[in-house]
Symmetry: C2
Subunit: 116 residues, 2 copies
DNA sequence: CTGATTGGTTGCTCTAGAGTAACCGTTGCC
DNA sequence: GGCAACGGTTACTCTAGAGCAACCAATCAG
């Protein structure tokens, strides 16, 4: 399924510089040199980050001559949001119920089904 | 601002073990020992990950005697979704498609650039 | 009180990966 | 053709952090 894709996406989003790259790309298509100018890292590091982001489906690149313009791609964000919603789905639905039930369990302190 | 909070959230989500913890907590409140049993790491590592997740607002913990039950918290997910939507706002406008609607449009087999 | 269980913390090792410098390939312009 | 500019890749170093073993603190049962 898209589980491994979610792994790639969140692993890519787990780095601050990569998030900054995405924020910079939010302004529009940008070549690598421009990104490196506005980032506290060099161009090789930016290239690596761009490769990771592209592999995760978060950005796309189009080669125009000797220049590569990078743009945001919606696929990665869709995967991330789907994972977030899927993980928190039942929690958001039954959040209040879990809270009150946990309080009752705290008072009773039972239901300890453990197995070696 | 909520920007540093987003940094905390995505940094917490950037680790595979932490994402597994969140998936396990999706099933309901769970103590630390139970998490360590189902994870490929020991209890000290789980404790550290739980601290990071709690610091990011992704989980909450409830001390019941000598047992600590951990549950998912909705605050962290809200921050993550807000950051995602904010970053991809322009892109979503450019593609003129919502995320959930993109799936339906993909089902209708429109000639749009899609990828697995 | 004593023993047992659960959870958290500390000190330590070790690996993944982030960053850089140097080099190479390609394209565009004269 | 020759030259400059832009990007990507490789080899290498170095640091952040993930993991574990051991120990400590707190709680409940008898």
């Amino acid at each position: 399924m898209s589980n491994h894709t979610a792994d790639l996406v969140f692993d890519a989003l787990g780095e601050p510089v990569r998030r900054r790259i995405l924020e910079l790309l939010h302004e529009g298509p940008t070549p690598v040199g421009r990104l490196a100018e506005r980032l506290p890292v060099g161009r090789p590091a930016v290239s690596k980050h761009l490769r990771v982001l592209s592999n995760a489906g978060l950005i796309e690149h189009r080669s125009i001559g000797t220049r590569n313009l990078y743009v945001l791609a919606p696929g990665g964000m869709a995967v991330a949001q789907q994972w977030l919603v899927r993980t928190w789905d039942t929690v958001l639905a039954a959040y209040a119920a879990d809270v009150s039930r946990a309080s009752q369990q705290a008072a009773q302190q039972q239901s300890s089904p453990k197995h070696p």
